[in-house]
Symmetry: C2
Subunit: 329 residues, 2 copies
């Protein structure tokens, strides 16, 4: 049986270095993955750039990007922007997943408008898998929305836990709430309320964690925070690794985040993304599609993880596999 | 003329490793600085620990610490806790500065109660000088209070700018507001309001900065944020340097923060402080006392820095020196 290529839609007009760095990254992803097909949303004048691989590329023609000074929501709702066209391709079934390195607000608005939210999830959240000393850590939200209520933070915990079960193969991911100390009661009023609310869920909630616990790991597999704090933490961590003169993050982890809480696979990168970052985003999206991560995530959200305080977190992806789908290792 | 020793009060009962690590650190600081005298607030049973240097130590006897489960404000107000005794020594003139590595909330409460706030500064803020690629960066607030209003953030900017003028010798420190993007309007409602308010001050305000700009430097000398975010950033940066396997921070910068906005010199360390951290805190406090930093800071707060967009930030400490005081180089 022939393998159907994975089809990823890419927003060519998002990002500080668009469209050139995005086209370069898309072409690098195609070169690295022979079973990949791309739907590129952007100006038709760029077509000569992919002449050599024209049979593996579909153009979604538009000249409209979202400027940094635009209101992202208005831009997405009122214009045929490249990010909207790319997301639309997922909704229509023409693509399996979408990648954008443009303004996060525009990508989130496009995803919500075109794909819709998962039932019960009023705010999408961006999850990044980060390098840490002990094990990878899922940080959620890294900036889908600059703020959160206590019930948003509970939902971020549910989304992050399900995402860690599916993508890291953990049985009962330990969920921690980012605060300024680990003793109950530490933090601002939002954290105090969210700490109580998370304690009452069926998540494997381990309580408050601190800034150290993101790069060190060891205490929590999933660190929950509002999108303002999460975005600042993500960028502080990246800058700190530069300060330390290391590329530990770049060499092992893509600078890409997955939008959770919407009905489809949406991978977002960095505004400053270069070609390698874009190629990493496309590869991450293709991996998620091949592993049926989105179906597994929805199944995991329906079926709470067993509370398990043992350190043995046996992969549960097999148990979560939807009928007819291959379980991910 | 004989040099009068600098007298630092140290809270022996604060910190996860108190009192042993704190006593060890205090003794190390004494050994490193022959013109230092210490007032140690803690149990008299520890006295044999400083037998060999008994002439350079005064005991402020108390057995009362602030437990992690105590309400810091209540503990400080109602009991003769070690942190309160140590701060009291500054108020009474028995000590020139105070060091604590105990719960921040208790130290801030003690400082406010005993020393009082500087006129116009309703909330003290903790300032840390952090290592960065381009130059040291002052981050304020790193956790004196888990939250802030927009006018608190403006005051943090004033305090941080004055602190950078005095301790880093900058003429017109560039002040940035930490957010999730650099374009005006990025961030939550608090940042939007604070951005507008900071733009209307006589500070050399350069606008919004991002998480990168703390460890990288280059854009702002002073990064202003609320104490929740600042504390998380500080700990993320520290943990990231561990992840990267480097001790760049430890080798050049003390893990110590200066409490700004109170009427005296208060240096706070880390709950997990070891002897070296405590010794670093004492040395930082002694340096600040010798350079008359507190008097310079008050003078700097009275006298706005000239707006200066040139990269030449000539040291202005001389211009700020109070009459009869030696200007710091």
């Amino acid at each position: 049986m022939m393998v159907r290529p994975v089809r990823i839609a890419v927003d060519l007009l998002g990002g500080d270095r668009a469209p050139d760095a995005v086209v370069d990254g898309a072409l690098a992803a195609l070169a690295a993955d022979p079973d990949l097909h791309l739907a590129l949303a952007g100006p038709s004048r760029l077509r000569p750039r992919w002449d050599a691989v024209a049979d593996r590329v579909t153009l979604l023609p538009t000249d409209e990007g979202v400027g940094m000074s635009d209101s992202p929501v208005r831009a997405v709702r009122t214009r045929r922007t490249s990010v909207r066209l790319a997301v639309e391709a997922v909704r229509s079934g023409a693509a399996d997943a979408v990648v954008s390195v443009g303004p996060t607000g525009a990508a989130v608005a496009a995803a919500v408008t075109e794909l819709g939210k998962l039932p019960g999830y009023r705010r999408p959240a961006l999850a990044a898998v980060l390098p840490a000393v002990a094990h990878p850590v899922v940080l959620v939200d890294v900036g889908a929305h600059a703020g959160a209520s206590d019930s948003d933070l509970v939902r971020h915990g549910r989304l992050g836990s399900a995402f860690a079960r599916v993508t890291l193969g953990l049985g009962a991911p330990r969920v921690g709430l980012l605060s300024v100390g680990t003793e109950p009661g530490k933090g601002d009023p939002l954290r105090k309320k969210a700490d109580r609310a998370l304690s009452g869920t069926d998540l494997h909630y381990i309580g408050l964690v601190e800034g150290y616990d993101v790069p060190l790991g060891g205490r929590a597999d999933v660190v929950v925070t509002d999108g303002f704090t999460g975005n600042v933490v993500l960028k502080t961590l990246e800058g700190s690794l530069v300060l330390a003169g290391t590329s530990v993050a770049r060499s092992r982890y893509p600078r890409a985040a997955t939008l959770l809480g919407v009905a489809g696979t949406v991978v977002l990168g960095h505004g400053a993304a270069g070609p390698t970052d874009v190629a990493d985003c496309v590869a991450l999206a293709a991996t998620a599609v091949r592993a049926h991560d989105h179906a597994h995530l929805r199944a995991a959200l329906e079926k709470p993880a067993p509370r398990d305080d043992s350190s043995e977190n046996a992969p549960m992806a097999a148990a979560l596999a939807a009928p007819g789908e291959k379980a991910r290792q």
